[in-house]
Symmetry: C2
Subunit: 375 residues, 2 copies
């Protein structure tokens, strides 16, 4: 299906007005792709070495958390480039490589996600309790908590372990119990994710990926035609896919503040995440692919980067709040909890669903600005 | 304190730029006030007669509900005018009359408030359950439920009894139990309010008020100087009081969508209504006084009426959502409720607090428009 976008003679495949990379220099070809992939593979190997050196015990140090994040970042970039520029790369190699990279970054992301989710939920509980007594350690993230979310959203810092706890601060009885329950459940999930990640990093499956990345660092399997092929139609196609997906979003609704859409089905019996979130999660992934595609063309960055980053951050917040809301709802299904605990979890769930709505509004605003800004 | 605004030589007492009534004709004097009070007194007596004729049994008919509302409306207008134009009226008479009218309209409002609150909460539960199966009877209010709220907010129709029930529709288990609990509690409150209102209407205290209103319909106790006194400085002072109170509101915050202010203290242990709501409730009352003051000057209405009404409706929604949120929180403190019920009430509470926030945003928007429109 994506192939139809890749035909350079297809008039719809030209650079879209809102997503043109606006390159000033010569035509970027397969050589630029090879350079990008080599650089990312090198970064992957550096991060892997760092991760091994800094230890990978039960509670990762800040360095090992940084290293794991760097591993994920490069794995995602390699995987994304393999997808966007697939016609220029050895097909068998690509098809074997991508799912392995996805498995690796997914496995490594889980521990961090659990920690960030707990941090987000505990900060929200403190906010909802009107508690100003944030522990000093997390004061910085607490101040920006509402706007920037937890560490995962902004990528500004690691979240080695939650620095806000349910016991500290001035939580009320229901909120304190809800916090303690969430802390128990998400810490358990985090510990499991940590073990899984350690097992993964020690597995033969991982060693096979690492070996392939080591080869990639010096030798990129381009197709014979790739060296002189123009990368831009393929990058533009990634932009088109993003544009198409954004067009399908309910942006008119999202642009109306307090539209109350995100909490619809908030009391639905379905324990699965809200199906309405799916298209937004999809756009988040396509936006990332689009951004990585641009990095290949413009290693030094483009003028629209800041706006794309803002839109991407809104979608990260959307994902974080969506998952936090689901965690609160899930905790409320724990048997034999007190009504006050359940009530606090209900308030917390609704609060996070409103953060979902706020994130959609923020995305709509930044996307609109971007469209206007580049016209 | 208000006296400083009433001095016609005080330069701050002149018509404010945003609240000028923009009168084209001659100077309105005490005669206009007398005509207004006579008309409102006549309306009060008409409504009282209608209320007696249409019966006042346990479940009021639509006509008797209409009549009770008309009684409240005229009582509020008489009381408001007595306040705004106090220097022009016999002081002893005024001071005796106002608390009695306030008692009457407060007593009559309670039953309607309970019914409207239940309707609002049940509609919200249906919305939160993703239920589209609204009973046919309430389809109209359901469609506009989010924006216009229940009948009390808009004054477009009576709410004789909730037409949405917890049992009907597709409510989930927790939501259904929460709905049934709210229905039980608010129906009981409504029944009590109905009995109290009936007792009040049969009391000698009420008959004394009604007698005084009957006299007012033909004979308004103006002071000797009132006949030639200009009403406008007094009306402008009411506008000033409104302006001052609005200026003290956190409108900058309110104008930022999703500022998350309304739910702060959402899990606070204090069972009292949110103290942050107070200044908004106060502005609601001052806006009403300002509107009534304008009715005296311009019986045919003014060009700014529509915008004032929009601002007033936002504040009505604010009050309704604030009280509904408090009712959900209060229901959650019922002993021995199931955790699923408490969870649903928590979601419902947070939902209504977000409606509070949405109403503040709507007020900020309409107030801004009004200020710009009349400059």
């Amino acid at each position: 299906m994506a192939q139809q976008h890749l035909d350079p003679t297809d008039p719809t495949a030209g650079p879209s007005p809102t997503l043109d990379f606006g390159r000033a220099g010569g035509t970027p070809t397969g050589d630029a792709l090879a350079a990008y992939l080599r650089a990312q593979a090198t970064e992957f190997l550096r991060a892997l070495r760092l991760h091994r050196e800094t230890g990978s015990g039960q509670n990762g140090t800040e360095e090992s958390v940084d290293a794991a994040r760097a591993l994920r970042h490069s794995a995602r970039r390699i995987s994304g480039s393999l997808h966007t520029y697939r016609p220029l790369l050895d097909a068998d190699w690509s098809e074997e490589m991508r799912p392995e990279l996805a498995w690796l970054s997914g496995t490594l992301a889980l521990e961090h996600a659990c920690a960030a989710r707990l941090e987000r939920l505990l900060l929200a509980l403190h906010r909802l309790s009107g508690s100003t007594a944030f522990p000093a350690q997390s004061a910085a993230s607490a101040v920006g908590g509402r706007v920037t979310g937890a560490g995962r959203s902004t990528g500004t810092g690691p979240v080695p372990a939650p620095t806000v706890t349910a016991e500290r601060g001035n939580l009320t009885v229901g909120a304190a119990k809800a916090g303690a329950l969430l802390e128990r459940q998400l810490t358990l999930a985090r510990t499991r994710a940590h073990s899984t990640a350690l097992q993964a990093l020690g597995s033969s499956r991982f060693h096979a990926v690492a070996d392939k990345v080591a080869v990639l660092a010096s030798e990129v399997p381009l197709t014979p035609a790739a060296a002189v092929a123009d990368l831009r139609p393929l990058a533009a196609a990634a932009g088109e896919r993003l544009n198409d997906a954004v067009t399908a979003l309910p942006l008119v609704t999202a642009g109306h503040p307090y539209n109350a859409e995100a909490l619809i089905h908030g009391l639905s019996p379905d324990p699965a995440p809200h199906p309405q979130d799916g298209p937004w999660h999809q756009v988040r992934l396509l936006l990332r692919l689009h951004r990585y595609a641009g990095e290949v063309l413009h290693p030094a960055g483009t003028p629209t980067d800041v706006r794309l980053l803002a839109a991407g951050q809104a979608l990260n917040l959307h994902r974080d709040a969506s998952e936090a809301a689901a965690a609160a709802a899930s905790a409320a299904r724990t048997p034999r909890i007190a009504p006050a605990t359940a009530y606090a979890l209900g308030v917390l769930h609704a609060d996070q669903r409103h953060e979902v709505e706020a994130a959609r509004f923020a995305f709509q605003q930044s996307w609109q600005k971007q469209a206007v800004g580049t016209l």
